[in-house]
């Protein structure tokens, strides 16, 4: 495993961290999209640690980031359905193929949506021409992290968005988390269904509750562990980072369990709590307590102020700091330098912070794909970035 780049003690990172010959150890080198969003077919090759897509609104910059986000399990940065990603007026299917170099190994990853025809729309994934059994296999090739304008309301929005953000962060360091979460969800929905149908079959409910307890406690522990490690990373970087440091406060979603005891005892405690709450849950029509109710409260560490109370720009800066600290953590724990997708990030930062962001990314040794309407926003990257002008067909 390679050591993560340490943030410098001062604010003067070397300018040549992305000099030729020191490319990020995990990077996307080629990208082909076919019948994807507004692209009928497009081939791109990337040669730098920074890749900038610039062009007018609606030109298709974010669509390229979305294509790259399919290198990660799930439905990408927009959380769209695969059918929505297929080009209007195309075959109804799409292709996204990327050549990735990771720790000196080249891998070809292909996501393909077959044209619609009866079967439920899911993508077919091939890694080096071999059919992948689950999308989680992608986590053995690379880790992709992103920050998009849709996440701007993260601190003020619904808890579900923060929980999803938290779980994506956990997944990047613990690939089993996705399976755990979907199994938990399934067990919980099964229990809710039994309760709503008034099937108070004690043995059946106990079976589901035992699994909800086991999976839910495992999820809570994984989330707590991630929060703990992330907090440590933020503290380590705080003195040098131009971005405000966040203080994280995780609530597990469980009222009784305090997770100070061994997992097995906590599981038992949770199982009994579920058993006791059958009546209440049936009346409420949902499970009132559990891993699905977790939330991540974020504060400005210096002012001890809830992030939701800060200005939009400050919230953005806080979020960037969080994502960068996480990127560093992923690099340290997984041995993969993550690939960062930063959609419309530069425009919200003042020139000083913008330059600092670029320098931090360079120091982390990760590849970053960025978008912006104006190439001038990326002036500080002159000579260090692939500048790719994106124009829709109607403009050309």
């Amino acid at each position: 495993m390679s050591e993560p780049a340490k943030l410098p003690a001062t604010l003067e990172p070397p300018r040549d961290a992305h000099a030729p010959g020191s490319l990020p150890s995990s990077r996307v080198e080629t990208l082909r999209v076919g019948d994807f969003r507004n692209y009928s077919v497009l081939d791109l090759a990337f040669e730098s640690g920074f890749v900038v897509f610039h062009g007018n609104n609606g030109a298709g910059k974010t669509n390229l980031l979305e294509a790259l986000s399919l290198l990660s399990p799930g439905r990408g940065i927009r959380r769209a359905t695969y059918g929505e990603m297929a080009r209007q007026g195309g075959s109804g299917g799409f292709l996204v193929r990327a050549g990735i170099v990771s720790n000196e190994t080249a891998t070809l990853v292909e996501s393909r949506l077959p044209p619609p025809g009866g079967a439920p729309a899911s993508r077919h994934l091939r890694i080096d021409k071999t059919v992948a059994r689950t999308a989680d296999e992608l986590l053995e090739v690379c880790r992709v992290l992103w920050l998009t304008p849709a996440m701007d309301g993260l601190f003020t929005g619904p808890a579900g968005d923060r929980r999803r953000f938290l779980d994506r962060m956990v997944l990047a360091v613990d690939p089993a988390h996705g399976r755990r979460a979907s199994d938990y969800e399934r067990a919980m929905r099964s229990r809710n269904r039994l309760l709503s149908e008034d099937r108070m079959d004690d043995v059946w409910l106990s079976g589901l509750e035992a699994q909800m307890a086991e999976l839910g406690v495992a999820m809570a522990i994984a989330r707590r562990e991630l929060t703990r490690m992330l907090t440590a990373k933020i503290a380590e970087a705080a003195s040098a980072s131009p971005f405000p440091a966040a203080r994280l406060e995780l609530s597990s979603g469980y009222e009784l369990a305090d997770f100070s005891t061994a997992a097995v005892e906590t599981e038992e405690e949770v199982r009994l709590a579920l058993r006791r709450s059958r009546g209440i849950d049936r009346a409420a029509g949902r499970t009132r307590e559990g891993a699905h109710r977790a939330d991540l409260a974020v504060y400005f560490a210096a002012k001890n102020m809830p992030a939701a109370l800060a200005s939009t720009g400050e919230q953005k800066a806080l979020l960037i700091g969080l994502v960068l600290a996480h990127a560093q953590l992923v690099a340290q724990l997984s041995g993969f330098r993550p690939i960062l997708l930063l959609d419309e990030v530069a425009a919200h930062l003042d020139p000083g912070r913008r330059a600092a962001l670029f320098d931090l990314v360079a120091l982390l040794g990760v590849q970053a794909f960025m978008t912006g309407t104006d190439a001038a926003l990326f002036e500080a990257l002159a000579g260090r970035a692939d500048m790719i002008s994106v124009a829709s067909t109607s403009e050309r």
């Binding site: 025809g117 989680d136 399934r186 099964s190 043995v203 059946w204 106990s206 079976g207």
Partner: protein, 201 residues
Amino acid sequence: MAKSVAGPEIEKLIQLLAKLPGLGPRSARRAALHLVKRREQLLTPLTAAMAEARDKIGICSTCGNIDSRDPCTICTDHARDQATVVVVEDVSDLWALERAKALNAAYHVLGGVLSPLEGVGPEDLTIRQLIDRIEAGGVKELVIAVNATVEGQTTAHYIMDRLEGLDVKVTRLAHGVPVGGELDYLDEGTLAAAMRSRTAL
């Protein structure tokens, strides 16, 4: 589907073939054409084989296996250890275990797993028959061999609970390191499961 060019009979054949697992409309068309072209070598014997299967094959009233005999070949095989019963979800799992020749035992096919979301309850499975079978005596060990899914594990939990108080040893398949697997490549969940169910050498 495109307008028929060969008459309704072939269209009907294609439509039925397309309902088979693994076949879509395209491969069903190919299969139908193939059958029609090889009328004597394939279509006639296949028709006869299917008619015979329809007439003779049924579900074993003891274990839920499919066979032309009832009780089935496995249940009446005295060379097998009839005191050990392997509980599986489906006949395909029974076949998988038989292919592996893992255990020379009898089986009990549940006919599915408990799933509130799919509307499958205990009464839809052969759990009652399993209990009856054990209460009738002669079964010493029950091996629960259901899938490691949420529904599979819930079903296992359900069966174990219903067996309480009955004089039978209950075991389940080990979860863990696959044969020929390298620890380095296993996910944490599998490794933890393997560690929990470690055995003495």
